[in-house]
Amino acid sequence: MRITCPYCGNRSLDEFLYHGDAEPQRPDATADNAMDAFVSYAFERTNPPGQHHELWYHEAGCHAWLVVTRHVSTHAISSVDIARDLAKARTPNTAGRA
């Protein structure tokens, strides 16, 4: 398998580390249902047989975390995005400084 890092280009699988499903988002720890939400976040997976958005780390390369969209039955990769960019777009900037 080869992954095209948006920064480094097309590289072999062994430069990357896998983390898993990119769908679960870390919940709000202060919410009322925080425990339920965290259990689901940390332990439950859709694990579909088709398209899968997943987190990879370009460990032997640029150290970027990537969100790879891959068909897990064919291993065909349809897109690779920069995790931080997606994450920024996903969450309003509340976590950082006021």
Binding site: A29, T74, A83, R84, T94
Partner: protein
């Protein structure tokens, strides 16, 4: 020495000007360069090459390529012994030694051939039905007997002495196979300027065009091939790889290929590997791997002298060898009938052409007429006669009567199977072609196309045209402009065929898988017993599981099964092909990474100094760290370690702690970020101060611990444990980039930049004062416990000083740029001479941390919570951090969980051992009473006895209790007293002041 008896006068690509010699089973034979072991054996009239797996039947040579199931030999001797090597792919060199295998005492007379008599019992799956009674005999008697009979050749007894290399290559177009189709594809792509790799497993290019002595562009194929090769060599972006088998298709256009660099030499020349493992990354791939001929299954079809027709032609045309003098040519197709021409041209007699097709064809009739032999149409060979040497063929003619033809060779052909294994490695299913009566490729791996015989295009002309066409498509896909090129002319031969899988009516066993001795009867039995799915058939009978992976048997077998179950062949299906296409030496996959080079070795900055000072090293992860520094006269490690600990406790010692992970955390949000990472507060840390911190996994379990130093408003410097350095860095990047992307913070690894030394002991400050440059003040007032500062040492070397203590003594960690690490170690010890300072290693480090009750890898073992190790109070309640929520789950708060405490033997003279389990006194030694386990132990020189840390159920409430440290594995049972985990200086006074 002249030609051997079966060597034809002319022909072949061998170098007749040179005669070399090889040994087979101790006998010396002549050969020519360019021979394979198989061709050389045949040239010398040697037919018997091996014994089969189960029945030990005498076997000869069936094929001429990598599909050979029978002629397996042990090659070479000693450490280079190489079992199960196909004689058909071994290139002979002078002095080559080969041995037959799986026979005793000799190839000709093999005791185990009585298995053949027991064949009625040794049917498929016989052992599933027996050897069950009495149960105890299985391991004692039955299985040892089975294992004695198992296996073919013998592995070498010694480490493989040869070198292997692994390489990566990139290309636009990878062409697999250098027959006419592959050559045309490669040359077409090359002319357009594409980067091309052409790989062929053979040592000569040309494929079947050479085997068949075809004519291309009005010249002998060999000449045409030479011209193409010469042209390919002209292109700087073309790499022609001979002796290279492409063995696997992997995701992302990646192919595995094995180049046999030196296997044709007595031993690899210096610096040259035996084999190279290539990872080829191709944009486009042309599979031009040709086809494999199908045998026909008939009685005793495994006799030596029964050979594939294509192989017969190969031996004649490529090697100038006659595989027999009187041949019966048994075919179901036109192409193979030409074998008769080659045989006659080479001086053999063709007794008859037996064509299973009623009426045969014009093409075959023409051959028979040309060679002047009888053509028996609608006839089949039902039995081969002779035991170790073929004597005749029993032929049943169209009318049903039989006759025996005397012969020493049966050249048979049941048609051809395209070599499509590489198209299926990614899951593509072969498709049945009614027209060709064989499987062709189905859904192809991305970027692959198929040409020539591999695509079911069996004619030479078709291969040439197809190769050029597919090459053109591939180069266009890669963005190159095709260049017009002429298509060489070739005569289109007929490939007409009508399927024939097996012939019944023979008296002898009819073998389908020759190596694994699977017969038609076994297939029938499997069918009867319900193993009808092809994959069941395979597993039950072991058909197709031998070293040839059923190249010559799978299709026949499933066709027979289809016949038995009255299903169509596509309904019956084809077994799954897997990499490797041909077996590959395990050493080649490992390459450089064996012995000491298995994994890289990381050397700490003081390594050379430590080595020259007699350090004993220990592997910690990839690092090699000094574990202690023995001195003359010390009897064992304990004595050295004890001395080192005492030196630290009483004076001062120095330890290389550079292996700790070091991470620079900078940015406006550095403080807020670290507050999320650590379970305790980090934002409140004052500039110039350090703090111990722990981080958790999201599930509330301890991930790592270390120190955090604040160097500036926006600048922290954190350390991790040696073991977790990489993991923590990755975790921080994860949190920074994915969980909290808005944090404005950068993290940079500084592990390698700094040589860091712990300077520990009461005299540490006095020592450091001699090292630290003026005017830096390291007095207790200016530089109290947990202070950090930047300064220079030794006359201007930049340094960082941390007042931290792992040992529990007054201590510092000081770092200098790594290049000075070695000299700095020496400088520190020189400065420490007046205090009798000594270097200490990981052992003493461990002893002192246990004396202080500090946790380490044995306690942070991936299952413990902060509360388990007595750090629950450190957890902040005021902020969110990784692990905060899930750490509150009931199971993790259970007061019954084993919790960290200290232990000392009741009899102070006794030794403690980690891994012992705790039992309350007076209870039974059963799991229900298991109260926890000892995590770390040390002999404490300070206390004069052994001490331990461990996790004990409700430990802190049991201080003072006496429990058993139970170690049945090593035979110890020690009474220990539960004590505080901090054995010395509980108040922590020594680190201050």
């Amino acid at each position: 020495m002249g030609n051997s008896s079966y060597r034809s006068k002319t022909g072949g690509l061998i170098d007749r000007s040179q005669t070399i010699h090889f040994w087979f089973d101790g006998v010396r034979y002549p050969a020519h360069p360019g021979d394979t072991l198989a061709s050389a054996l045949l040239a010398n009239g040697v037919r018997l090459a091996g014994r089969s797996f189960k029945y030990h039947r005498p076997r000869g040579i069936l094929a001429a390529g990598s599909e050979e199931p029978n002629a397996l030999v042990e090659l070479r001797t000693g450490a280079r012994r190489e079992p199960n090597t196909k004689a058909t792919v071994v290139e002979v060199f002078d002095g080559l030694e080969a041995f037959s295998q799986n026979r005793w005492p000799s190839l000709k007379f093999d005791v185990m051939s009585i298995n053949s008599l027991l064949a009625p019992i040794f049917t498929a799956g016989f052992y599933y039905k027996t050897f069950m009674w009495p149960a105890a005999l299985w391991e004692k008697l039955y299985e040892p007997a089975i294992r004695r009979a198992a296996g073919l050749g013998r592995a070498s007894d010694d480490p493989d002495p040869d070198r292997y290399e692994k390489l990566t290559a990139f290309c636009d177009v990878l062409v697999i196979g250098g027959g006419p189709a592959g050559l045309m594809a490669a040359v077409t792509a090359a002319r357009s300027g594409a980067r091309v790799i052409l790989a062929d497993e053979n040592f000569n290019l040309g494929g079947r065009a050479i085997d068949d002595a075809s004519v291309i562009d009005d010249q002998p194929a060999a000449q045409w091939v030479c011209a193409i090769e010469a042209e390919l060599d002209q292109h700087s972006d073309v790499r022609v790889m001979r002796r290279t088998s492409v063995f696997g298709t992997f995701d992302g256009g990646t192919y595995g290929a094995l180049e046999r660099v030196s296997d044709h030499l007595p031993s690899p020349p210096s610096g040259i590997p035996r084999q190279r493992m290539w990872r080829i990354v191709a944009k486009q791939t042309v599979l031009a791997s040709g086809a494999t001929e199908r045998p026909i299954v008939f009685g005793n079809n495994d006799r030596t002298g029964v050979m594939l027709a294509g192989a017969v032609r190969t031996y004649i045309n490529r090697y100038g060898v006659l595989p027999g003098r009187r041949a019966v040519v048994f075919v179901n197709n036109d192409y193979a009938a030409s074998t008769a021409r080659d045989l006659v041209r080479a001086g053999a007699a063709v007794v008859a052409i037996v064509d299973s097709r009623p009426g045969s064809t014009d093409a075959v009739r023409a051959v028979a007429r040309d060679v002047g032999c009888p053509l028996l149409d609608g006839a089949v060979v039902i039995d081969a006669l002779g035991s170790q040497r073929l004597k005749g063929a029993v032929v049943r003619n169209a009318a049903g009567s039989t006759e025996t033809l005397s012969c020493d060779l049966i050249a048979m052909s049941g048609g051809w199977n395209p070599n499509i294994q590489l198209t299926t490695h990614l899951g593509g299913k072969p498709q049945w072609s009614e027209q060709l009566s064989t499987f062709t490729s189905g859904v192809l791996p991305p970027g692959m196309s198929v040409a020539g015989a591999a695509s079911g295009e069996f004619s030479l002309k078709g291969a040439i045209v197809g190769g050029a066409k597919v090459g053109q498509v591939a180069l266009t896909q890669c963005g190159y402009q095709p260049v017009d090129c002429a298509i060489p002319s070739a005569i289109s031969e007929s490939a007409a065929m009508s399927p024939l899988w097996r012939v019944d009516g023979g008296r002898g066993k009819a073998f389908v898988d020759q190596q694994n001795d699977v017969t038609t009867l076994d297939i029938e039995l499997a069918e009867r017993e319900g193993f009808r799915a092809v994959e069941h058939l395979k597993r039950y009978t072991t058909l197709g599981m031998a070293t040839d992976q059923g190249r010559t048997s799978n299709v026949n077998a499933l066709a027979i099964m289809a016949e038995l179950t009255q299903k169509s062949i596509p309904q019956t299906g084809m077994t799954m092909a897997r990499p490797p296409y041909t077996p590959v030496a395990i050493g080649a996959f490992a390459g450089h990474h064996r012995d000491k080079h298995f994994k890289p070795t990381r050397l700490p900055p003081s390594y050379a100094w430590a080595k020259s000072h007699g350090a004993v090293f220990v592997e910690t992860g990839l690092w090699l760290r000094p574990s202690y520094f023995p001195r003359p006269g010390e009897r064992d490690w304990l004595e050295s370690v004890t001395r080192e600990v005492k030196t630290v406790r009483n004076s001062v010692g120095i330890c290389d702690v550079s292996t700790l992970g070091k991470i620079d955390v900078q940015g406006p949000d550095a403080a807020a970020f670290l507050d999320k990472i650590y379970m305790n507060a980090m934002a409140s840390l004052a500039i110039g101060r350090c703090r111990y911190g722990c981080m958790l996994r999201e599930d509330g379990i301890l991930l790592d611990d270390g120190t955090v130093a604040r160097l500036g408003q926006h600048h922290y410097f954190v350390t991790t444990t040696t073991a977790n350095a990489g993991k923590v860095f990755q975790h921080l990047e994860f949190c920074r980039q994915w969980i909290w992307p808005h944090f404005d913070v950068q993290i940079i690894s500084a592990t390698e930049q700094w040589a860091q030394y712990a300077v520990a002991g009461p005299h540490s400050r006095a020592l450091l004062r001699k090292i630290v440059d003026q005017p830096f003040d390291i007095s207790d007032q200016e530089f109290p416990y947990m202070q950090v500062g930047e300064m220079t040492v030794c006359g201007g070397v930049q340094a960082r000083l941390f007042r931290l203590s792992f040992s529990g003594e007054r201590a510092y960690e000081i770092s200098v740029p790594a290049r000075y690490g070695e000299a700095f170690m020496a400088a520190l010890l020189e400065a420490g001479e007046e205090f009798d300072a000594c270097p200490y290693g990981t052992e003493a480090l461990g002893v002192m941390r246990i004396e202080k009750g500090h946790i380490s890898g044995a306690e942070i073992n991936g299952t413990t919570t902060p509360t388990d190790v007595g750090l629950g109070a450190m957890m902040s309640r005021k902020k969110d951090f990784i692990g905060n929520v899930l750490g509150q789950r009931a199971g993790l708060l259970d007061p019954d969980r084993p919790t960290l405490v200290g232990f000392q033997p009741v009899d102070r003279g006794q030794r403690l051992r980690a891994g012992a389990h705790f039992l309350a006194r007076g209870v039974k030694e059963i799991a229900e009473n298991d109260d926890g386990y000892m995590t770390s132990v040390a002999y404490s020189p300070t206390l004069g006895h052994w001490i331990g840390l461990g996790l004990l159920k409700r430990g802190p409430q049991r201080i003072g209790e006496i429990v058993r440290a139970f170690d049945p594995l090593r035979g110890y049972d020690t009474l220990v007293e539960v004590v505080s985990p901090v054995f010395i200086d509980a108040k922590g006074e020594r680190v201050r002041g």
